[in-house]
Amino acid sequence: MNVCFILNDKQEVTMALGTRDNDTEGVMLSGKNELFTDPDPDKARAFFRNKSRSMTPKLAQIKDVVRDMIKDGDYIAIGGFGANRIPTAIVHEIVRQHKKHLGFAGHTSTHDFQVFIAGKCIDRCDVAYIIGLEARGLSPNARRAVESGTIKLTEWTNASLSWRLKAAAMGISFIPTRNILGTDTFKHSAAKTITCPFTGKKYAAMPALFPDFAAIHVHEADIYGNCRVYGASVSDFDLAKASKRVVITTERIIPHDEIRREPEKTVIPYWCVDAIIEVPYGSYPGNMPYEYFSDEEHLKTWLKVERDPEELEIFLQEQIYGVNDFYEYLNLNGGIEKMKKLRAIEYLINNK
């Protein structure tokens, strides 16, 4: 246990170093990979100081939002859980506009990561879970990209990224946690260890993650960006608070009075939100809880065409580059008839 009597700053440092030389318990360990974002809460505050809090209508267009709110090199994050409640319209538009050199928060990213890698948008990534599509298998193209060493990676875990967003949402620069200690996941992270000043326990210090941009798909929102989400929320409420610029796509715009009638349902408040776009079926081909299930056939096709890079390019041309917007893509893949089928699957209606 380190006991420090603080007489002045200098003396505290001297004593601490003296202890660390002889006491392995007191040594601070550091993950050796790169920290892609700045955890400084005062820099974040300086940004948030100038972020609008006026409750004005924020209805926008997908194309404009992606053009104006994301620049090459930004660090972005996507809400939901890979292929569940994802803002596909934004993800596709980022690819369609050829955004480059993006940093990415890969917290159980599955289909979203797969699309970004196909579009060659990402060159650095905080990894909790990438490449895989859970029970569906691994993305051949994402594997090729990562195994060729062209993308800079820093290892984390799902909880680590959740808690890094939580630290940012709290407006602090790190949060102490009890995961990742002692592993190569820690060694290849950018976390550090820290000793609790009360108990002497060793913690991992998770640096706050303030993304430049986040897109989140929700069930309902008013025109000001007050949002409702049903089903598992993953880390989205913290993500909305932690990110500098936030775009919401929503299954439905609802009247502002509706928000005021049941305020306890509001999970993301308007002041977090910069733009809002109504995109029914907006999580397609992903699952949207209580609305429609994932399109497993379409997700299988992705995995199939990815085996051959040329076939993938043709597929991307057909599905993303060659269409004007999300609704052309939706129609290309079965349109409203397909959506009705996916709704039946979601509702467990056996209509085979």
Partner: protein, 255 residues
């Protein structure tokens, strides 16, 4: 009744989940084991999913640990921090992990194969929630087919912590006291870990396999419990419920 290795592993895992316990599972075999346990042994087993689902009544096997099924008729559709913090507070008893490699201390690799981190020979998804659950749940279990490459004394990457270097090293690293690997359930045997050294130790051998088979298909020297039991094969009732109710399409148990 005849059964395959996957069915055996799921049945053995299910018996290890007692009523009233909490367990975080992923998709696939672990989810099947938890569902089976709920239907036969532990009706009040609370199943959690890392994206936020708490105690769902699973209508079908989930494809994703965040899809609609994971909070179907649940008591809570919460969040990832909610579930992970419940683990960190010491309220979650069990979890199941998978991986490409495991060593004698139960450390698990699900990140990469190769010796160059920047250019791995094979890259896997990485931790996801595995490291978190292995760090924070009381008891970690694994179901896996056993061979000498998978059970190795040298992991290419420690994704999720077992007992690290054995002894007290796990707790000295700062991981919560009393947590760690509990059972490794393979097609050949069921292993635990020696109390002192934390080295993997065979507890029982599955029907049709010998001591020799178990050791030959392991890349490190196994310890053996004083008394080695025979693993009880799946009962007819277990198999029936597993095949008809838990995994009726045989996605996990195969044809």
């Amino acid at each position: 009744m005849d059964y395959n290795a996957m069915e055996l592993m799921i049945c053995v895992a299910a018996r290890n989940l007692e009523d009233g316990a909490t367990v975080v599972v992923g998709t696939g075999a672990p989810c099947a084991a938890a569902m089976l346990s709920q239907k036969i042994y532990s009706p009040n087993l609370c199943i959690l999913f890392e994206a936020g689902g708490v105690a769902p009544i699973l209508p079908t096997m989930p494809i994703s640990v965040g899809d609609s099924r994971t909070f179907h008729k649940a008591i809570m559709a919460s969040s990832m921090p909610e579930v992970m913090e419940t683990c960190q507070r010491g309220m979650v008893d069990y979890t199941f992990l998978g991986g490409a490699q495991i060593d004698m201390y139960g450390n698990i690799n699900s990140t990469m194969i190769g010796d160059d981190y920047q250019k791995p020979k094979v890259r896997f998804p990485g931790s996801g929630g595995a490291n978190d659950l292995a760090s924070l749940c009381w008891r970690t279990m694994m179901m896996t087919v056993q061979d000498a490459r998978r059970f190795t004394d040298k992991l290419d990457f420690i994704t999720s912590p077992g007992y690290l270097k054995g002894g007290r090293s796990r707790y000295d690293a700062g991981l919560p006291e009393g947590t760690g690997p509990y059972r490794i359930i393979t097609n050949m045997a069921v292993m635990g870990f020696d109390d002192e050294t934390k080295w993997m130790m065979v507890l029982s051998i599955n029907p049709g396999y010998s001591r020799q088979d178990v050791q030959d298909n392991c890349g490190f020297e196994l310890k053996w419990a004083k008394k080695i039991d025979d693993t009880k094969p799946p009962a007819d009732e277990e198999l029936r419920i597993l095949r008809e109710e838990v995994d009726p399409h045989h996605y996990i148990i195969g044809r």
